[in-house]
Assembly symmetry: C2
Homo-oligomer: 157 residues x 2
């Protein structure tokens, strides 16, 4: 972008928006019955527990990588039960905040390669993580509906 281009959203506002999405995703995880989170799926797709673990593998590692350019230094864990996933989610929430704070101001416009394989500007690196969360959470809504459980309103954050 040109440095003269108007700002769409600032870095602190984007963090707040992302954490709002993460609160909603946490509520979706909570709504799954314990015995369905890692067993139920549709269309041969992954369970919502597996999808939630994928989100854990991306969120805090992305914030850590943008802050440090060290893409191996944060080792995320995945859970095997709802209580484990929720505990890891809460830790991840704190870590996203912790590593977002020291990200250099220009990093979001720099072209970088994350995790040794994805090359693009910092803002697209973050958006790919957030969009992937929204995408998979939408799938979780279908799973919940198919289980007869009403998902939270999309705009509740």
């Amino acid at each position: 972008m040109s440095t003269a281009a108007p700002t769409f959203i600032s870095a602190p506002d984007m963090l707040a928006h992302w954490q709002g999405h993460r609160r909603l995703t946490r509520r979706v995880i909570e709504l799954f019955p314990d015995d369905k989170l890692f067993t139920f799926s549709l269309g041969g797709m992954r369970t919502f527990g597996e999808l939630a673990n994928e989100l854990l593998f991306m969120a805090a590692p992305m914030a850590h990588g943008l802050a440090t350019l060290d893409w191996k230094g944060y080792e995320p864990k995945g859970g095997k039960s709802k209580s484990e996933v929720l505990a890891l989610w809460d830790q991840s929430t704190k870590d996203v905040d912790k590593y977002w704070a020291p990200i250099p101001a220009g990093r979001f416009q720099e072209t970088i390669t994350s995790f040794g394989q994805y090359t693009g500007p910092g803002h697209l690196q973050v958006l790919s993580v957030v969009d992937n969360e929204v995408h998979h959470r939408g799938q979780g809504y279908v799973y919940l509906r198919a289980l007869g459980i009403a998902p939270p309103a999309f705009w509740e954050r």
Copy 2:
């Protein structure tokens, strides 16, 4: 936000990102068999044709509203068949570009009320439209999988 806060993403880069999402959603609409777009669903949810019409009702009207603050001046149409929806989608793509261009530079940080009911900063108004598209498209992926059709890769734009 403080005016000193670093930019996460500029307005032109956000438009490019949104239009990338819209190209992917178009491919998802195209992948539905003609006779399934408005008939197939899971969990008692809306069909993907109905969801695509909802996206049409939000995208260009949002860009038009942010440019003009006239929330009734753009009357979007919905389609009743795949060919109608795709034609409306292509018109909507042009209209999003057309109305995005004259949006005033500060509009994305202003607090505004869209469509007479949603109050928040301009950037959240746009993000709510984009996020809603990603959310519902994720649901479309489940429908396609359940129909035995492989959806496009999420990162293809």
